[in-house]
């Protein structure tokens, strides 16, 4: 039987990442969990939270075994300074990045089946002198790949053509080449990783009313429509460009597997206010499987035991599911 081995990075040591990673170790999992972290940090935090967890050194040459609640394997990476809950320390930024690199490498080497990331604090990593836009971009660079960000809940999947760029740059950034790459990645990964035979992709327009035949902007006529037409000829099932304000209606959602947005806030707000449940962040386009929580470091809650591990649970569950599908593909 295939036992997925999931590498988990607890992220920012002063935040709730370590808390939620420890909390979920007490549960049953149909996989092996590997925490990539400082073992002293994990020991301190589990004492603070009064969680009874035994830490074992991870042996990468052993075969995966099913997780035992309360026992977890750790691949140790050492902190530079002892962490203090809630207090960011730029000296520990290198540690955070090293845990990510180790997790990615385990996946590239087929030692682990997926990586699940807990939140990091972007600004402190940048303050430490590293150019860090986010997990998505960092892992893509490490794997030499082009990433596509996708967020999903039980009921809805949304993917982004552009991510963290100024709105004023969006129109010029969306070129036929970019759009072609993004759609090919979404189509390929939904087939390969999500086992959807013929993914149906609904594509948002860029302008109000999807440009209204050129009345409200030209990007649809000049870039989006010709690119979609070209891709349709290769057999990809595409609808659009559709007006973004009516794309999230039941009729359209029922008939599609994913909504592709042109920019960050065109599709992400919907996940947050429409009762679609907890969102999970997945990076498409990578040679490895990566899922992530959809929340921040919540520094004020670190070490209090009040952090909610639900998003992490959902991210691990999805990682297990995707790893299993990939194994059987």
């Amino acid at each position: 039987m295939f036992i997925p081995r999931i590498a988990i990075t607890p992220g920012e040591p002063a935040g709730i990442g370590p808390d939620i990673c420890l909390q979920i170790c007490l549960l049953d999992w149909p996989c092996q969990l590997i925490l990539i972290a400082d073992i002293q940090l994990l020991t301190r935090r589990s004492k603070q939270l009064d969680l009874d967890i035994e830490f074992k050194m991870f042996n990468s040459s052993a075969t995966p075994t099913i997780h035992t609640p309360g026992v977890v394997h750790v691949h140790p990476v050492q902190l530079s300074n002892t962490e203090q809950c809630g207090a960011l320390d730029a000296n520990n930024s290198r540690y955070v990045l090293t845990t990510l690199e180790a997790a990615a490498q385990f996946c590239l080497d087929d030692i682990c089946s997926a990586v699940v990331t807990a939140p990091v604090q972007k600004n402190i990593i940048n303050e430490a002198g590293f150019n860090f836009t986010g997990h998505t971009e960092f892992l893509a660079d490490y794997c030499h790949a082009y990433p596509v960000m996708m967020l999903l809940t039980d009921k809805l999947k949304v993917a982004l053509t552009t991510t963290h760029i100024p709105l004023s740059d969006v129109s010029d950034t969306i070129t036929p080449a970019l759009l072609t790459d993004v759609i090919n990645i979404v189509n390929h990964d939904l087939k390969q990783t999500f086992s959807i035979k013929q993914p149906r992709i609904a594509v948002c327009g860029l302008n109000p009313h999807a440009g209204e035949a050129g009345q409200l902007g030209h990007e649809e006529l000049q870039t989006i429509i010709p690119t979609l037409n070209g891709l349709r000829k290769t057999g990809i099932r595409l609808t659009g460009p559709l007006p973004a304000d009516t794309i999230f209606t039941p009729k359209i959602l029922e008939q599609h597997d994913v909504v592709l947005g042109m920019y960050h806030d065109q599709v992400l707000p919907t996940l947050k206010y429409s009762g679609f449940g907890d969102a999970i962040n997945v990076t498409l386009g990578l040679p490895i499987i990566r899922t992530s929580v959809d929340h921040g470091t919540a520094l004020d809650l670190a070490g209090t035991g009040k952090a909610n591990p639900d998003s992490l649970k959902a991210a691990i569950t999805l990682a297990i599911d995707l790893a299993t599908k990939k194994q059987h593909a």
Partner: protein, 326 residues
């Protein structure tokens, strides 16, 4: 206000469902609890609509507002007698229907400007018919700095700083002055509608509300408004600001551009969506649905949005706040 405000409702394009949903809204008898209603349009068209809906309301033609009978069983309509096309077909775009829609809007505007009615409501018109008649420009176009679209969907209320513009033109239009004057106009309107100390949220423009426009224009604009004593916060991340409004932390969100606000409103999808045009010196409301030609003449069209729009207009004009007010 002891006397209820007079709210004029233009019955909409004669070929669409407007006259029917107006008749059904009137027949509920609820309008008179909120306002003194009067219609602008054609007596003949309304008589037909009343019949199509199987209602037994009388349609009473009045010359002016002071003649209205204020009786829920009698529809009062100001009919200028201009519409004499009896050959138009229900459910089809038609030049004469487009022309009369513009004429009726004009008559309603005159009444409101003269202070004879306190607020106005527009039933669905057909932009195609109005275009055929060459009068589409009679419908108010949003002009940043002067007029703004204000959408309402249950607890979510969104005013749009800019409207029908290509996305690439939005960023350059957003200035600190525009942000601050629009907040101040919004605040004034909310107070006049009966919201004592309005709580206004301003959406950011960029992901996580962090970028050049936030630093250079939106934040300074919000600060200017705060300095005038307005209870305003922002810029707030566009992916969470609407959620905060739905949860009741704010009375309204100022959105930066069309899709930002429209996606939130339409996805949230409360029944009873309606749209206010901010800019005219009087309250001007329109329903969020269209002429639904396929239902015209069947009496089957759902009148709940029309009813909600007129009730809300009456409530706001009376200074009694939103219908589901905090």
């Amino acid at each position: 206000m002891s006397l209820k405000p007079t709210v004029a409702t233009m019955i909409g394009d004669p070929a669409g469902i407007g006259p029917e949903v107006v008749a059904k809204a009137w027949a509920t008898g609820e309008l008179h609890d909120y306002c003194q209603p009067v219609l602008i349009g054609s007596q003949l068209v309304m008589q037909r609509a009343v019949k199509d809906c199987g209602l037994s309301l009388k349609v009473n033609k009045v010359a002016s507002v002071k003649d209205i009978q204020n009786d829920p069983a009698i529809i009062d309509i100001i009919d200028s007698g201009k519409f004499d096309d009896e050959s138009f077909k229900l459910g089809l775009d038609n030049e004469s229907c487009g022309q009369i829609s513009a004429d009726w809007l004009d008559e309603m505007d005159q009444l409101a400007l003269a202070g004879e009615v306190n607020a106005t409501v527009m039933a669905p018109i057909s932009s195609v018919s109005m275009k055929m008649a060459g009068v589409l420009d009679k419908v108010i176009n949003m002009e940043p700095g002067h007029s703004y679209l204000f959408l309402i969907s249950g607890p979510l209320r969104v005013m749009h700083l800019t409207d029908h513009l290509p996305l690439r033109d939005v960023c350059d239009l957003i200035t600190a002055d525009l942000v601050s004057t629009s907040i101040s106009q919004l605040n004034k309107a909310l107070i006049s509608w009966g919201i004592e100390k309005p709580r206004i949220a301003v959406a950011g423009l960029n992901p996580h509300a962090s970028g050049k426009e936030e630093d250079e224009e939106i934040t300074p604009g919000v600060e200017q408004a705060k300095a005038q004593g307005i209870n305003v916060e922002g810029p707030i991340a566009p992916d969470s600001v609407f959620r905060h409004c739905i949860d009741g932390h704010y009375d309204v969100v100022l959105a930066m551009f069309h899709d930002q606000g429209h996606i939130a409103i339409k996805t949230w999808g409360f029944s009873g969506n309606c749209a206010l045009i901010m800019g005219p010196p009087y309250l001007h409301m329109s329903v969020a649905h269209g002429t639904a030609y396929d239902l015209a003449g069947t009496g089957q069209a759902d009148h709940s949005m029309m009813l909600e729009a007129i009730k809300l207009t009456g409530n706001l004009a009376a200074g009694n706040g939103f219908l589901n007010n905090r």
